[in-house]
Symmetry: C2
Subunit: 391 residues, 2 copies
């Protein structure tokens, strides 16, 4: 069954055309804030219901509840903070003059209207406490922590109305939760499994997708790469999408696979991110969620299987499909996991991202058992990785 | 969870040693019947609880209920007749003199005691009606039908006490349902998936086994080849078992796989046999049951996926894991099904049993993608198929 949105109702806080035009016309008269890229993505996702039941940026009670208990004040599981820090000096001046009940425009660096925040609360929070709760660390080497710690301790909260996202990228369209649900319904799919990724597909990833497609309780696969702001050294969003398009076109039962990007910033929060990303996919209409090893992890910050166990602690209304790490085994002559392969580690072909990336860049041979040649060809192109300052 | 036996209680009608000795001593004084091989297997399986809740051979009311409704008189699903036809002339003379309340010895051709039947009823039945219900046909080309039609219309019914089966074959021991349950418990396995087979393993079979072992709701795999009376041209039981031993030893996560033969005659009854074989595996303690394409089918007697649909009609308390036909695809470079492979049939390597068997016998090349070399080596040995008169 296509699940209800998290909390029961798919949020819709997208500004209608007339209202948007009116707001754009009065933009000069409204106070305006300039949230960072991550928060602009969040604004958009709240608007289209991807973060249901959130209707806006979290207030102090909600943030505290999430940080302390992993739940919204209603008791509904919610693992990560979605708050709006007031990071820059100009914005702090604007916020000083705001009172509950005021409307404030949320604009991007080109001063385009992206949404309206209906102010309910301004509050101070403890960035270290939030970082410890979300990421389990204050380590500056964690990709999300420094930004959180440097964006101040002032936040502004309230419901938002968001400008509908406009298609900006080439490649497959970014579906809204309404659109994906409608698509699933029109194809007669009750049980769609979501696949989270942020890297081009190796055969080890494809293996988990195939295992899932073979299940009789799965009608289709929703490949949903996170291609919002990533970190330096990640593949560029368009590269990830083109690589997936090549895979789906050549190797997938295409009538059972939907590929769509998800523009949010990647939270490398390990288990808490896995839970968050599952909730988001439930909002997109998926009833199953694939969780591999160390999902949304980075470095050695998280126990690689903590992202499995958190689903035992919190029932978020989507069935996790938990898989172990996949690898190609020369003895099995196939991709496998330790659940199926009895051979020693020496029989396994090293599939580390780092090693494959290096081989790709140096023009080294990459066996088709690790990477489909169609995918490898795309990854061998120049300039496929994000550089400093390009996020 | 290890499921309860079908009907709630694992039947135990095995004669204790003292009782067996007493019965053996009085064998000359007891009337005796000489059931066929199939019925001797059934007797043994009733005794050890493999056919729970059956306590004996079916009476007329039970047989009618099963034939007409697919259920026991209690309403519990049960798809195939387990009755004791009185097939030969000498036995008919013995039965003439029997009355309800009498005990009759069941002996094998070497006149060894195999069990005691406590007579409750002698009755006439319609063999054609039974054949039509069980096998859906009266066609003499069906491997089970001629025997059923030629074994007369007289049956004798009542609870049995069976002599405990003695190990007779080399190879892995035949576990009783009590022993398999105890084994599963001792290893901490709640959810064991049963794999039904009657042929040596191809990679297409191994693929379904691997798909199953990768599921997080499966703790282990119980490979349970039916190696009772088979049909002419089938592989010999010991060949099937040796082939599986080679597969398990070389390619399986052995600490999660149990191999044990099941000595019953194979009923090629398609969907009804699939359901019957699932119930039997539930009695052995399995909570999952793998159902491939055309399970227990023969020729083109059954719709290949009727064996999937029957589990929707009858809930027998074991979760069917239904898979489509697997094949090796040259484009995918892996085993797949139509659920995962988008390529035309021309990309598939022909995996028909018949073709592989022919290639094996003629010394032809068999790609490792179809058959593990360790398995192929065993099947290339001379004299591996059952000949006429050897069943």
């Amino acid at each position: 069954m296509i699940p209800d949105a998290h909390g029961g109702r798919l949020v819709d806080r997208v500004l209608g055309d007339a209202e948007r035009h009116r707001r754009e016309a009065e933009l000069g008269d409204l106070p305006a804030l300039t949230p960072g890229t991550d928060q602009l993505y969040d604004l958009e996702k709240i608007g289209i219901g991807a973060y249901s039941p959130l209707e806006g940026f979290m207030d102090s009670a909600t943030l505290s509840s999430v940080v302390d208990t992993g739940r919204l004040p209603t008791g509904l599981p919610w693992s990560l903070p979605i708050h709006l820090p007031v990071a820059n000096r100009d914005d702090r001046v604007v916020v000083d003059a705001l009172r509950p009940g005021d409307d404030v425009a949320l604009i991007d660096p080109s001063r385009t209207l992206r949404g309206i925040l209906h102010v309910e609360e301004k509050f101070r929070f403890d960035p270290k406490k939030v970082a410890r709760s979300a990421f389990g660390t204050l380590d500056a080497k964690h990709p999300n922590v420094p930004e959180l710690l440097s964006s101040g301790d002032l936040a502004i909260a309230g419901p938002v109305d968001a400008v509908a996202p406009r298609p900006t990228r080439r490649g497959p369209a970014e579906l809204t939760p309404r659109a994906s649900r409608e698509l699933f319904r029109s194809r007669g799919w009750s049980n769609v499994a979501a696949y989270q990724c942020r890297n081009p597909p190796h055969t080890a990833h494809e293996y988990l997708q195939r295992l899932t497609l073979e299940r009789e309780d799965v009608d289709a696969l929703f490949i949903h790469p996170v291609v919002g702001r990533l970190k330096v050294g990640d593949y560029r969003p368009e590269v990830i999408l083109r690589a997936y398009e090549a895979l789906v076109r050549t190797y997938c039962a295409v009538d059972r696979v939907v590929l769509s990007p998800l523009t949010i910033s990647m939270r490398y929060a390990g288990p808490k991110a896995a839970l968050f990303l599952a909730i988001v996919r439930k909002n997109y209409g998926c009833s199953r969620y694939i969780v591999g090893r160390d999902q949304a992890g980075v470095g050695s910050f998280y126990d690689p299987y903590a992202c499995h166990r958190i689903f035992d602690e919190f029932d978020v209304g989507i069935l996790p499909l938990r898989y172990e790490e996949a690898f190609y085994c020369r003895e099995c002559r196939s991709t496998a996991t330790s659940k199926t392969c009895p051979h020693p580690a020496s029989a396994r072909v090293d599939t580390s991202q780092t090693r494959i990336r290096k081989a790709l860049q140096e023009g080294g041979e990459i066996p088709a058992e690790l990477l489909r040649p169609e995918v490898a060809a795309i990854l061998r192109e120049p300039d496929v990785l994000l550089k400093e300052g390009e996020q």
